[in-house]
């Protein structure tokens, strides 16, 4: 039997009791659930008149407080994990490379994801553009290039090298009140210019998809 004036000892014993019911018949597990879920203040009709239930809810709420405190303690996301994921995903992605120079002194190549990044950076500078995701030449195009050049590939060239011609895909979110075709053209021009200047890519095709509007 539970004495509401001394809820502690009996409650802890009740947690081990197979029956787990208070003297009033209330289920201890359900009271603990109610308290742990932060609902101890929302009393049922029975609980409003029951000192056993009220004492148990109060005690369980107090007992559960350290758990609530632990649950809201921040757990920072380690930068090491984020970086390791980035490296692995990059490795998993069938990346392609652009060859800028194949001279006797060696090859100069630039990774397609770097090209995509330069393109995204350039696109973001266009007024009216808010969000840009850049993607360089599709892996399947790289595959085709690889197949096509299989027999004639320069021994210094790596798999997937596409020469100086780049195909860039940009997904863009633009401001609502802007002329979208003008924005898309600005994006194309700026990306083409920057890739020519910064990466030395001669022939650049830029496909712009305005796929969202910012209101």
């Amino acid at each position: 039997m539970t004495d509401p004036s001394r809820p502690d000892d009996d409650l802890w014993q009740l947690l081990d009791d197979p029956a787990r019911h208070l003297a009033c018949g209330a289920d201890v597990d359900e009271l603990l659930e109610q308290a742990a879920d932060g609902q101890a203040g929302q009393l049922t009709g029975h609980q409003r008149d029951c000192p056993h239930c009220q004492a148990a809810l109060q005690e369980f709420s107090r007992a559960w407080e350290p758990v609530r405190r632990a649950a809201v303690t921040p757990v920072p996301f380690p930068a090491a994990v984020r970086n390791a994921v980035a490296r692995q995903v990059r490795k998993l992605t069938a990346d392609v490379w652009y060859t800028l120079d194949l001279a006797d002194g060696g090859a100069i190549r630039i990774a397609a994801h770097v090209v995509a990044r330069i393109a995204s950076e350039a696109a973001r500078k266009v007024p009216g553009v808010h969000v840009v995701f850049g993607r360089s030449t599709h892996a399947n195009i790289a595959g085709l290039a690889e197949t096509a050049t299989l027999r004639h590939r320069d021994p210094r060239a790596a798999v997937g090298v596409l020469g100086r011609t780049a195909v860039i895909h940009l997904a863009v979110a633009a401001e609502y009140d802007q002329e979208l075709d003008a924005i898309a053209r600005d994006v194309q021009q700026r990306v083409i210019a920057e890739l020519r200047d910064k990466a030395g890519l001669r022939d650049v095709l830029v496909n712009v998809t305005v796929d969202d509007i910012i209101t």
């Binding site: 597990d29 603990l32 659930e33 692995q88 994801h113 990044r117 969000v131 993607r135 997904a171």
Partner: protein, 216 residues
């Protein structure tokens, strides 16, 4: 190459799109739980872009939800080292399996499922952790050093008690009480039933309450 702007190759190798997307992409709710429509719409947009091969969209998803993977792994495994491994495995696996994600659940729910399974596999393969270093890197709001020490000791005790629970109870307690998921969501994530989840919660709560009664 331009200066160290947000899209320049950063020290971490990701294309950091998150702050540029501010205003467009609503952020996830801390600690899990039900997401708002705006957050879900932003996640759906990012998932779609990532499925099309935009790596930086996946980077944004990792920024938004990587913390969830690490937090859950830490609470299930009880130590930072294993948690880092499992979070990393889960986030790479999520990328590999992203094409199969059909949006039938929210992205976080899908990620919870992956990280929980990876953590359970790790628990099954390895003996119980002998070091519980939960708060090594945790920050605090700062109510004085003594108060912080006391709070950290309590939090350590809770985390140790959770990590000592049998795995099914541990998963239920972590997902429901720490991540704020409903019993139905926990059942979906674990491939269980709501009745089974409640049963694990009942048992886990009883054990935790008894273990922690000295820490009140």
């Amino acid at each position: 190459m331009p200066g160290r702007g947000p899209l320049c190759p950063g020290r971490d190798g990701w294309h950091a799109a998150s702050h540029l997307a501010a205003g467009r992409l609503a952020g996830p709710r801390r600690g899990g739980g039900i997401q708002t429509d705006a957050v879900q719409a932003a996640d759906a947009y990012l998932v779609e872009r990532a499925q099309e091969g935009y790596l930086d969209a996946y980077a944004e998803l990792v920024d938004r939800h990587g913390g969830l993977a690490y937090r859950v792994a830490l609470r299930l495994l009880g130590n930072h080292h294993d948690a880092e491994d499992v979070a990393q495995e889960a986030l790479v696996l999520a990328w590999q399996q992203l094409s199969g994600f059909k949006g039938e659940s929210s992205y976080p729910t899908w990620l919870y499922r992956i990280v929980t399974r990876r953590a359970l596999n790790r628990i099954a393969r390895t003996p119980a952790a002998d070091s519980l270093d939960f708060l090594t890197d945790a920050t605090d709001s700062g109510a004085g050093p003594a108060r912080d020490v006391e709070r950290n000791l309590t939090v350590d005790a809770v985390n140790a008690a959770v990590a000592a629970l049998p795995p099914p109870q541990r998963v239920a307690i972590v997902l429901h009480h720490f991540e704020g998921l409903s019993n139905e969501e926990v059942a979906r994530i674990t491939g269980s039933t709501v009745a089974a989840v409640r049963s694990h919660l009942f048992r886990g709560r009883r054990t935790l309450t008894k273990t922690l009664q000295d820490w009140r």
